[in-house]
């Protein structure tokens, strides 16, 4: 979450210290790692990358022009224009080894990705045609509008389509983006943050990961009165992994992260320290016995399970197609259509579990004012004291099911940020699991018999579509909890099989301190505490 301005002074001090370290390394022997990077003579002064200069208008202006072009075509009942412009700057820290370490930890690669594109949806006789383009000159915009109309004309009406999104009664929140990220000034902070993180890494430990800043600028307007104007969202994320490797074997592994809406909230060094906590710890066990366990899940593991085993299931597209394991029934709607309806109001978790969507948290990386249909986002309960209360939905499914669109229609695609050419999904913003009142030690004390503490799960996927069963692994060093003692276990020591429905129902303890965690390439974050539950089985432990 948000940090105060002291973080900026800290970053500048760290840069100064890093420069001092480099001067020291140049001077000869040090007690620091011999693999610290040599000073680079090719960086004479601080850089400032200007935004990509362009003669193009701003996204919201292009969107308005595109909408006019679409509506001018005739026989268009409704139309929507969406234009996005994203920039991602990234430093990639790597440690490479061939037997021994041969490079790093160091920023091996610094990248900037910029994309800008437009999408138009046109409704003709109840059919929706969609066309997108990166070519934003007038002629191309005219063509894409015409394409969308000809596509719509080629289709029969969609009986499930009611309308594009209309203006909501909700007042949009005001969320300030990070101006430095927006204006292309994140570069130095990322490079310096990476250098500071790398500088913390002692010899014998591999540190790797990415430090990223993303800006999303977009505008969406439609013929029903939606016009978001210019929308700006930013986020900064550091995800780092520290591992000790000997003879090709990973002996220990830890992960750290920092995720925020702004650079002032980004702390790559803190992420490195968090990763090193477990990365430096020597495991005492290479295996745990096969069997059923209580499991204490760390915040990242909770976020991982939410990301893969609950978020998709809360999406209306999965409920509609019958691939969500959450309870649903086939029922007729008011206009005679039979749909699978989510059984909201059903108990799906223990009373201690309350999960909310919070899109307006000032410093959180997933905070967004509008979705990509121009619907204002809104804080709301998803699971309230164990009772299922909410779903993720874009306007298509919301209208179909008679719901007020909650603002989850996002266009996340194969390139960073929001993509005009990506289909509308049903995606969350920030997820917040309400903390409990138990300290970590109290959670450990609550474990029955032997239990596992898993700070980081990996490859958590359902075992089949539509089921709550999943399979996973411990990617980082884990712990066997035996009579209150935490005994470190090697990373990748065991495969886990679990049941998400059971994990939620049998949650027996929720920690009192939440932290922000985000999974690989995710566009949202989870602010979650530790969770103690049951329903996990260790299969075929390591030799």
């Amino acid at each position: 979450m948000g940090r105060d301005e002291g973080a900026g002074r800290k970053a500048r001090k760290a840069r100064s210290e890093a420069q001092g370290s480099r001067r020291k390394a140049k001077g000869g022997n040090t007690t620091e790692s011999p693999l610290r990077h040599a000073p680079s003579p090719l960086r004479p002064r601080p850089l400032r990358h200007a935004p990509f200069a362009s003669r193009l208008e701003e996204p919201e202006e292009i969107a308005r022009r595109l909408l006019k072009l679409a509506l001018a075509l005739g026989d268009v009942e409704q139309a929507e224009a969406y234009v996005s412009r994203n920039r991602m700057t990234m430093t990639r820290l790597e440690t490479l080894r061939r037997g021994q370490r041969v490079a790093g930890p160091a920023a091996q690669q610094v990248s900037t990705f910029m994309n800008m594109e437009a999408c138009v949806r046109v409704v003709v006789k109840g059919a929706v045609g969609t066309a997108a383009t990166v070519h934003l000159d007038s002629a191309s915009l005219g063509r894409v509008a015409s394409d969308a109309r000809s596509i719509a004309r080629a289709m029969p009406p969609d009986p499930n389509f009611w309308s594009l999104a209309g203006p909501s009664g909700r007042r949009p929140a005001r969320l300030a983006p990070d101006r430095a990220i927006l204006e292309g000034g994140a570069f130095e902070a990322l490079v310096d943050g990476s250098a500071e993180a790398a500088g913390l890494c002692p010899s014998g430990v591999d540190l790797a990961g990415s430090v990223i800043a993303i800006s999303e600028v977009f505008g969406v307007c439609n013929s029903l009165g939606i016009d978001t104007g210019r929308c700006e969202d930013t986020r900064a994320v550091a995800q780092l992994t520290a591992e000790r490797v000997e003879g090709g074997e990973v002996l220990s592994s830890g992960m750290g992260w920092s995720a925020s809406r702004s650079l002032s909230g980004l702390d790559a060094a803190a992420a490195a320290r968090q990763a090193l906590e477990l990365g430096l710890l020597r495991p005492r066990l290479r295996t745990v016995p096969e069997g059923d366990y209580d499991v204490l899940l760390g915040p990242y593991s909770v976020a991982d399970m939410l990301d893969h085993m609950l978020v998709p299931q809360l999406g209306m597209a999965q409920i509609y197609t019958g691939t969500s394991w959450l309870p649903a029934e086939r029922a007729a709607t008011g206009n005679g259509v039979t749909l699978r309806r989510p059984l909201l109001g059903t108990t799906v978790a223990a009373p201690s579990v309350s999960l909310r969507e919070e899109p307006h948290l000032p410093g959180a990386m997933g905070s967004r004012t509008f979705d990509d249909e121009g619907v204002p986002t809104a804080p709301r309960p998803l699971i309230d004291e164990g009772i299922w209360r909410g779903v993720f939905s874009n306007s298509y499914y919301a209208h179909l099911y008679g719901l007020e669109p909650p603002g989850n229609g996002f266009r996340f695609g194969p390139r960073p940020g929001r993509m005009a050419s990506a289909p509308l999904s049903n995606s969350p913003t920030n997820l917040v699991l309400r903390p409990g009142d138990l300290s970590f030690e109290e959670l450990v004390e609550r474990c029955r018999c032997d239990a596992l503490y898993i700070p980081r799960t990996w490859y958590t996927y359902p075992t089949r579509y539509g089921a709550s069963g999943f399979s996973s692994s411990n990617r980082s060093t884990a712990f066997l909890i035996r009579k209150g003692e935490l005994v470190p276990v090697a990373p990748n020591a065991f495969k886990l099989r679990g049941d998400m429905a059971r994990v939620l129902r049998e949650a027996r303890g929720i920690g009192r301190e939440a932290s922000t965690a985000t999974t690989w390439s995710a566009s949202f974050c989870s602010i979650v505490p530790h969770v103690l539950s049951a329903g996990l089985r260790v299969e075929k432990p390591s030799e």
């Binding site: 610290r36 990077h37 040599a38 090719l42 960086r43 362009s54 990639r92 790597e94 440690t95 490479l96 041969v102 790093g104 920023a107 091996q108 690669q109 610094v110 990248s111 900037t112 990705f113 910029m114 994309n115 969609t130 997108a132 990166v134 070519h135 934003l136 596509i151 080629a154 289709m155 570069f187 790797a208 990961g209 990415s210 992994t241 591992e243 490797v245 090709g248 197609t321 969500s324 309870p327 649903a328 029934e329 960073p416 050419s421 289909p423 990996w458 490859y459 075992t463 089949r464 579509y465 089921a467 999943f470 692994s473 990617r475 990748n492 495969k495 099989r497 690989w520 390439s521 075929k540």
Partner: protein
């Protein structure tokens, strides 16, 4: 489609050299795409898109810099390209230097590779195919939901480097996903139903649709969902003889051969993302029985026609080739790029691809598969004739693998019990749990060439930002020993 002049890219590379880079390359592309999505016989969406982008990599001061951008108009191409170059060079210089990146040498290549499309496709063609496929699936008794997506993309891709390479290639892709959900006895809950997803597709144009026969695949998807919902049973958990069909082996080879054979993983370069490889430092060592052979082969030969991983040059301009990963059970070679090849002290073998010129190339599988045994059984019947008790695994579904690619669970939609050399009860929702050393060591029979099949895998995820790449995987029938579990 925006036309990009290859000579302009050459001039760009000359100006890169003038900026003092050690090396630079540029990729640029223009593409058109059309897509359709249908549900239960009704078309739900049609989409058309156009894109152009450019991406520049530069080595300066010993480190990589990269910058990419969409190209909004033809007039913007020069300024956009110049900005990308400037940014890539300054980014490289700002990064650390520990020690300088080196690239394995390659000969520069100048090539123009057109694609001769024999059959065009209209929006109506896509719509018709999509709705027909869902209609076929929905017509199978028990199926309550059937969806289909179809997409056709055409792209012109350019590559140029400061070493003098310049390659232009026209690339087409066609394909989509098929989904059926069936319910037994009118059960409405997800747990009472069975869902099956399956991709189809080719690196090629619309002319491949007839060859691929998605109609047959669609009916099979629907029948599988229906039979699993109504007739199949869950397997018992046991260690037993397992025979795996080529479809299952496509996911097996993908997860536990292809990925751990990516050189960037081997060197630790993906440790924070995709993970590492337990095969690090095991080249020349035995990793399986003598019957286990696996390759990645991107060569445009007849066997690979239409496969996703077939290409003449990778995205560094390196000629594609046949890379032997496992030979008679011994680990031999990894897929690499020029940087990883230099670190490993081997020749580069054309393993670098990106899904877009706007993203960085990564080491990716191509057509990665188990090779058949020339003397192996010619059919499933021959394969199982002396198996007294075992399980046959069928269509692959979802994997779960540890970060070293050693310990895994790979699920299958369907399977069969094998009793006294014959198939008996139909099984559903089963998985093998194992580790690669034990499983590959247990392989005691590999099918012959007649049992060999290749399958499109359009959704291989890697990289940050994430890139979902198309690859092809497969193999023959194989038999070994492993633990089978039911996955509900």
């Amino acid at each position: 489609m925006l036309r990009i002049d290859g000579s302009f890219l050459d001039r760009m590379m000359e100006s890169a050299l003038a900026k003092g880079v050690t090396f630079a390359d540029v990729r640029a592309e223009s593409c058109l795409s059309e897509g359709a999505y249908a549900e239960n016989g009704d078309i739900k969406s049609l989409f058309r898109g156009a894109g152009s982008c450019i991406g520049v990599r530069a080595l300066a001061g010993g480190t990589w810099g990269f910058a990419s951008s969409d190209i909004s108009t033809g007039r913007e191409l020069r300024s956009t390209a110049a900005q990308c170059l400037e940014r890539a060079v300054s980014s490289a210089r700002a990064a650390s230097r520990c020690p300088p990146v080196e690239l394995a040498p390659v000969r520069p290549v100048r090539a123009d590779i057109p694609y001769t499309r024999r059959t065009g496709a209209t929006t109506e063609d896509l719509q018709e195919l999509c709705t027909r496929l869902t209609g076929l699936m929905k017509g199978v008794p028990g199926v309550v939901m059937a969806t289909s997506s179809v997409a056709l993309t055409e792209a012109v891709r350019h590559f140029s480097s400061t070493e003098g390479s310049n390659i232009r290639e026209e690339v087409f892709h066609v394909g989509g996903w098929l989904f059926s959900s069936a319910s037994a006895g009118g059960g409405a809950g997800a747990s009472a139903s069975q869902s099956v997803y399956r991709p189809w597709g080719a690196r090629g144009g619309w002319e491949f649709v007839r060859e691929l026969g998605p109609e047959e695949t669609a009916v099979d998807v629907a029948r599988t969902a229906s039979e699993l919902a109504s007739k199949a049973v869950a397997p018992e958990t046991r260690v037993t003889t397992v025979v795996t069909r080529p479809c299952y082996n496509s996911l097996l080879v993908h997860e536990i051969v292809g990925h751990p054979c990516e050189a960037d993983r081997v060197l630790g370069g993906e440790s924070a993302w995709a993970g590492r490889s337990w095969w690090t430092e095991k080249v020349g060592k035995r990793v399986g029985s003598r019957l286990v052979n696996a390759v990645s082969d991107a060569r445009p030969i007849l066997k690979h026609r239409g496969c996703y991983g077939t290409y003449p040059y990778d995205d560094e301009g390196v000629p594609s080739g046949r890379v032997v990963h496992i030979e008679d059970g011994v680990l031999r070679e990894f897929l690499n790029g020029r940087q990883s090849a230099a670190l490993l002290g081997v020749r580069p073998n054309g393993g670098m691809r990106s899904i877009s010129a706007g993203l960085l190339p990564l080491v990716r599988m191509s057509n990665t598969y188990f090779e058949p045994d020339p003397e192996g059984p010619r059919s499933l019947e021959e394969m199982i004739e002396d198996v007294r008790d075992g399980v046959l695994l069928g269509h692959q579904s979802i994997p779960s693998i540890d970060s070293r690619r050693y310990r895994w669970q790979i699920n299958a939609y369907d399977g069969w019990e094998i009793r006294k050399g014959e198939l008996s009860r139909r099984l559903k929702n089963l998985a093998l749990i194992g580790n690669t050393r034990e499983y590959f060591g247990s392989i005691f029979r590999v099918g012959g060439p007649a049992t060999f099949r290749l399958y499109p895998i359009p959704n291989c995820g890697k990289g940050d930002p994430m890139q979902i790449q198309r690859v092809t995987n497969g193999g023959p029938l194989m038999a070994g020993k492993a633990k089978v579990v039911g996955v509900g």
